[in-house]
Amino acid sequence: MAPSEGAPGLPRAEALPPTGHHPRPDAWGKVLGQTRYVGDLSLPGMLHAALVTSNRASARVRALELSAARSLPEVVAVLTAADVPGANSVGVIFPDQPLLAVDRVRMVGERLALVAARSREAAAAAVGAVRVELDPLPSVHDPVAALAPGAPLVHEGGNLIRTFQVVRGDVARHFRRATVVFEAEYRIGGQEHAYLEPQGCLAVPEGRQRVTVYASCQCPFYVQQAVARVLGLSLAAVRVIQTPTGGGFGGKEDYPSEPAACAALLAWHTGLPVRLVYSRETDMQLSSKRHAMVVRHRWGADGAGKLCFAEVETFMDAGAYVGLSTVVAERANVSAIGPYHVPAVRVRTHVVYTNNLFGGAFRGFGAPQVTVAGEATMDALARRLGLDPVEFRRRNVLDDRRRTTCTGTRLERPVLARQCLERAVELAATTPPVAAGRGEKVGTGVGLVLYGCNLHHGGQRLDRSSAVVILQPDGSVVVRVGLTEMGQGLLVAVQTVAAQALGVPPEAVEVCLPDTSTVADSGPTVASRGALAAGRAVLDAVRRLRRRLDPVAAELLHCPPRQVELLGGHARVRGEPERAVPIAQVAAEMAARRIEAIATGWYRSRPRRFDAASGQGGAYDFYAVACHLAQVVVDAELGLVRVARVVAVHDVGRVLHRPALEGQIHGGIVQGMGWATSERLAVREGRLENPSFTDYVIPTASDAPVVEIEAIEGAAGRGPWGSKGIGEPSLIPTPAAVRNAVCDALGIELFELPLVPPVIVAALGQRHPFAWLREQPADEGVGVR
């Protein structure tokens, strides 16, 4: 398919730069063990922090006895809410969450006191010496039960935080047309991010006027805001430097603000550097999770196999504090229908307080849960209509002709949802089917996603990004951006864009991790927007730099400045490639003439309108589609699922860097597969009972499926060279495809996730062969590695 004209960053009709293939710039430091993560940093006099937390989900604090802890050797500070100089609040959107609890705790893991000591051992001893007396209060642990009359209130004012809606068409009228109606309730579990590097930060004070925080995080500007608020300092007085970050997946979006505020408060009081690095158990117990949801469906289709209406009611378990739940709900709300044409739609998404662990950002941001439900219902309707699931989707998927989404947005052409579906089916047919062993059953399932790229309308004020480009006198380039590398490949994407825009080899470009003192607030690194937003800001900076660079090059080349092009390490005369000077020579000439060799760049998305009451309007700036097809092998006796193969077809606009794109898709598929098959959060009375990699089972190398990827270019997005985001669409369709494949294999319908062995065995009406190992209800079973 021909690339669209006028892709961002390119003059009309200019050829697209080639896709990058070079190794990522951060790879060597990491593989040699030289990259310094925050836990590898220490400073003279540095203290170690630890947290005193609640072990009850709902209680009144009767007593907090600190004197024994304070008198222990090597303990320097023990702080409570009374020691907070600014606002005792860390909520990112809504100020309902205290940094330190005052008289009431609403969840397990809620902070009661902070400790700083000369060693980790002394800090742990001090935590053990704090006497906490809690008077239990009634608690509620299910989002549906929390809305029932008489349910215990998590906060005064009720457990319903907010309801989002999509209202489109006349459901009652289209209901009457339907020949098949399917109703179901899906119970979708949460998920732990399980980034390999636990949460961590290091706060370095300078008097009580200023603090520098080194943090493993996705959003240094969120950390800056939280620390400034808690300490009562200006934003300028709080400098946050992102340290190399060992995985995020949303888990380091809002949460790192909390440990950072703790470490900064201890540093502010003690006048010493304070490092806080979580153990794995603490990390899993305290940090945010993918939201558990209850999704109720009533969808109908007519005799021709066309969808008539869809009603969705979702109950999102926010946990005890809002965090990012309302924002996650915005995406869940408008993602509930998928890439299908439905004349009448009614979606309600309730965000509900409970006394559970709090839900937060996790790759997909509410879309994976509703996509599992939506794609399950698509299969259920197909079965009841006597249609093949692929054929049923063919009849309903959005395309160039029918391209209006459930939010009333007319998608830009070409709409590639149908192509993604057809290509996935074709690719799957090119290899022999997966072989089943004795007692095993094989199945195939598909999942599709319509992904709104970038931030939802509700967050569009954050959709901005800052960049600085510095041309060194030798022609090498330093680039600073406000968005973060956490493993996903932002550095290599930005490096590729900057190198192509300046016509230099990628090795000539160094991209720095963000430092809030060097770039403007760029919003969060989320919503698959990193390469898009940072890349666009870099292109803007390069455009401004060229206003000064091109005239110098033009003088050296004896041509008008508008004839200058930058390519292959040279400034050349357009159309006359033999007339060229090395960019290094142009840079040296700029330095000799003392011409400003630094430029800033800015990006913001186009403003759009959206009516929150009806859920109609410009929910997102632009869209991407994808289809995953999964082939699974199920051991029907043990209930074990093995995902043998996943075919992933993505509408990517343009591939900026091939290995980074494929790395995102591989990782998204396996993370989605883990959630669908083995990653079960065993939460009882609000307490996580499996906070370890022994009991919370994430995929290993032995579980990795064969993955085939096809990236379709040409439906231009608004990233550099027409690219779209890939971080989240790489995960969203997989759990749905895996769930549908398992049902196909077994010939049954399953209504919960993850599909751990006891769920499958119980659904088959069997007793699990290993049930004697742990006598308990089927839904309390443990995963099997």
Binding site: P23, R24, D26, A27, W28, G29, K30, V31, L32, G33, Q34, T35, R36, Y37, G39, D40, H193, A194, Y195, L196, E197, P198, P244, T245, G246, G247, G248, F249, S279, R280, M486, G487, Q488, G489, P659, A660, E662, G663, H666, G667, G668, I669, V670, Q671, S692, F693, T694, I698, P699, T700, A701, S702, D703, A704, V707
Partner: protein
């Protein structure tokens, strides 16, 4: 307090001597006493493999090994995988070139286990997957990691 214990190691080829509390983990000796922070702590329970080092040539999770039990042993960390010439180990080069490095926190452990797999001359892909499955990675989905092991195995064979 218990008496400190003397621990002599051949650490990345160099003779080193440490005096540590009896309960000190090998991981802490490496990271804090020897300053070798390339070895990471991901779980502290022997589950994730980020702290993998070679103890007398065998991969171990150093968070589960008492430093005091290593007196007289040879220990190789990720920093010690480099050849005497300063050349990276074939598995390190392969991880970079195959795109097997993303966030990088699991990478030192993968490189160390990978080096042991290559040294053992494991030729079959399923066996390599099984042997590397003690090293968790949340970013790559393992596909490029397994490709890197295959490439490095080839490179090591070619060098013989």
């Amino acid at each position: 307090m218990a008496e400190p214990v003397r621990v002599r190691l051949r650490l990345n080829g160099e003779l080193r001597e440490f005096s540590v509390p009896p309960g000190r983990r090998l991981l802490d000796l490496l990271r804090e006493d020897a300053g070798l922070t390339g070895t990471k702590e991901g779980c502290g329970a022997g589950e994730c493999g980020a702290c993998t080092v070679l103890l007398n040539g065998r991969p171990v999770t150093s968070c589960l090994v008492l430093a005091a039990s290593c007196d007289g042993c040879e220990v190789t960390t990720v920093e010690g995988l480099l050849a005497a010439t300063g050349e990276p180990h074939p598995v390190q080069r392969a991880l970079v070139e195959a795109g097997g490095v993303q966030c990088g926190f699991c990478t030192p452990g993968l490189a160390v286990t990978g080096a042991a797999i290559i040294a053992r001359g494991v030729g079959k892909a399923p066996e390599r997957s099984r042997l590397i499955s003690g090293n968790l990675c949340r970013c790559t989905g393992y596909l490029t990691v397994l490709e890197a092991l295959e490439r490095a195995g080839g490179a090591a064979d070619g060098a013989e």
